[in-house]
């Protein structure tokens, strides 16, 4: 029974998307344009430069294209579904989350999981096309693939907690527009979506190593392109796992405080 409700809740996003074909066309078009633009930009940048910051041209292009694909994993039009925390706070419908025998935190986690799996299907499809078209390089070895997948899983897990914390912020601020914009930007910049972190000055890389963002994308992608050799991967995976634990505890704490807040303010 619990599994059934999990399945139902998890498929809300895919179902909503399938019910809106124009939105799916939009995602496909956007993905295509973005990949073409990013790939040509990096090819262009490298046209006068050899290897820089330990990254060759094909490595950089692969990194950048994979970053585009990966950033689509969770970037859906959640607003259209009116099921974000901020909208529930705005419309006063957050009360229903607390009126059901399913705890809000589990509901949220299941929704996120469904989105993740759905987004993964998109990313995987895009990846296979890019691989076939020769836009990205295949991973160096089977071992690299395995470690990359593990690291990607951990990275997405960290990302989930970051997004959760941003949403939880709404329980206090009632609005999180700016928080969301900032998080999106920080996430994109500090995880390497805009440019591989390797290009940044040392102080920047050091600073970002203390933040959870680089664990979401930079680590798995660097493993994929071989910028982080397998011999160093164990340490990086441990850092990712560490972030998962820390953020899990932190967001759990926030859920508890959020419930208290709803219960004392009445949603």
């Amino acid at each position: 029974m619990a599994a059934l409700s999990a399945w139902r809740v998890a498929r809300v996003t895919p179902l909503g998307e399938l019910n809106a074909p124009p939105r799916m066309t939009g995602v496909a078009l956007r993905l295509l344009v973005q990949v073409v633009l990013v790939a040509s930009l990096w090819h262009g940048l490298y046209s006068h430069t050899g290897t820089t910051a330990g990254l060759g041209e094909s490595q950089a292009v692969t990194y950048a294209v994979l970053a585009v694909l990966a950033s689509r994993l969770r970037e859906l039009d959640q607003f259209a579904g009116r099921d974000t925390v901020i909208q529930h706070m705005h419309f006063g419908t957050i009360v229903y989350w607390y009126l059901r025998p399913l705890p809000p935190q589990r509901y949220y986690a299941l929704r996120a999981l469904g989105e993740q799996v759905y987004g993964f299907a998109w990313a995987l499809g895009g990846y296979l096309i890019c691989l076939a078209a020769g836009v990205v390089e295949p991973p160096g070895s089977a071992a690299v693939t395995g470690v990359f997948l593990l690291s990607l899983l951990l990275g997405q897990w960290v990302l989930h907690y970051i997004m959760l914390a941003t949403d939880q912020w709404c329980f206090w601020a009632l609005r999180n527009n700016s928080a969301i914009l900032i998080i999106i930007f920080a996430q994109n910049l500090l995880s390497g979506v805009y440019a591989p972190l390797w290009f940044f000055p040392d102080w920047f890389v050091t600073m970002s190593s203390f933040l959870p963002f680089q664990a979401t994308l930079n680590v798995p992608l660097s493993i994929y392109i071989g910028r982080i050799p397998l011999s160093d991967a164990a340490g990086q995976l441990a850092v990712q796992a560490g972030w998962v634990v820390v953020l899990a505890l932190f967001t759990r704490f926030l859920w508890r405080r959020a419930a208290l807040r709803v219960v004392s303010q009445g949603g």
């Binding site: 262009g44 206090w172 609005r175 920080a186």
Partner: protein, 266 residues
């Protein structure tokens, strides 16, 4: 005159409203700074790594993100709320605006005060000062006035793009989906010399999604690269004018779309 007075009063009220959400306001101010510094780091990082990008030296390239960010900051401060029209349509706010005796576009602009624009502008101005001080160009009165015109034109062009998107949202509320992407595209691809891109891609960013006119083309004209942009020189040089025309066109489109607005959710 009356319109100005109302605008000023509503803006003051909006500013006060921003103060109502304490945590949000303080966060806006505090983190806004970090954000902008990161933008600068990002812009300078690539310049340092890829010297001679597209045949430009790095002090010249720096002029592109500086122009683009200043234009963007002004856009957010003065016209940035068009960005949220899609959402306001979905929430039925437009229907309310339509019943009031004030142009809808102005009401949208007055819907809230953009606290973050203050941070944007401060840092953009800093970046511009940095770019100008590193520049080896002779900053004559003519060049400076062209730069000012370019910034204004860039602001208007960005506003035009978002207004056009807002027009689409009036018809198809789902078009709102594209606005975040548009902002992202402007932010990333607006900061490079676009001649590093293949011709087709550069052409796309010039003629289909004209972000080249925001900063790249005027900067090319200023730095003497105006003849190798792949765009006729006269067109590149009239980038500020393109912004003005685009904005006027988008406002006409907006007026037309509003007349044909049929409402959402029946």
């Amino acid at each position: 005159m009356n319109a100005l007075r109302i605008t000023w009063r509503v803006t003051r009220l909006n500013f006060r409203a921003q103060l109502e959400y304490r945590a949000e306001f303080l966060l806006n101010v505090a983190i806004g700074a970090i954000w902008q510094v990161s933008v600068i780091v990002f812009a300078t990082v690539l310049l340092a790594r890829f010297t001679g990008m597209g045949g430009w030296d790095s002090s010249e390239v720096l002029l592109i993100p500086a122009t683009r960010m200043l234009a963007h900051g002004l856009f957010v401060l003065l016209l940035g709320r068009v960005h949220f029209i899609g959402r306001q349509i979905q929430e039925g706010r437009i229907d309310i605006y339509l019943m009031r005796p004030m142009p809808v576009h102005r009401q949208v602009q007055l819907s809230y005060f953009p606290t973050n624009a203050l941070g944007d502008l401060t840092v953009a101005a800093g970046l511009m000062v940095g770019a100008l001080s590193r520049s080896e160009l002779d900053w004559s009165a003519g060049r400076i006035s062209y730069l000012v015109a370019a910034v204004v034109g860039g602001m208007l062009l960005e506003a035009a793009l978002f207004t056009a998107l807002a027009c689409a949202s009036l018809r198809f509320p789902a078009a709102d989906y594209w606005s975040r992407w548009l902002e992202e595209l402007l932010g990333t691809f607006g900061s490079y010399p676009l001649n590093v891109l293949p011709r087709a891609v550069g052409g796309f960013l010039t003629y289909a999604l004209p972000l080249a006119f925001v900063a790249y083309l005027p900067a090319a004209v200023l730095t003497g690269h105006g003849h190798d942009t792949g765009v006729p020189y006269w067109l590149a040089a009239s980038a500020p004018l393109v912004g003005v025309l685009a904005y006027l066109g988008s406002r006409l489109l907006w007026r037309w779309s509003l007349r044909h607005y049929t409402g959402v959710n029946g």
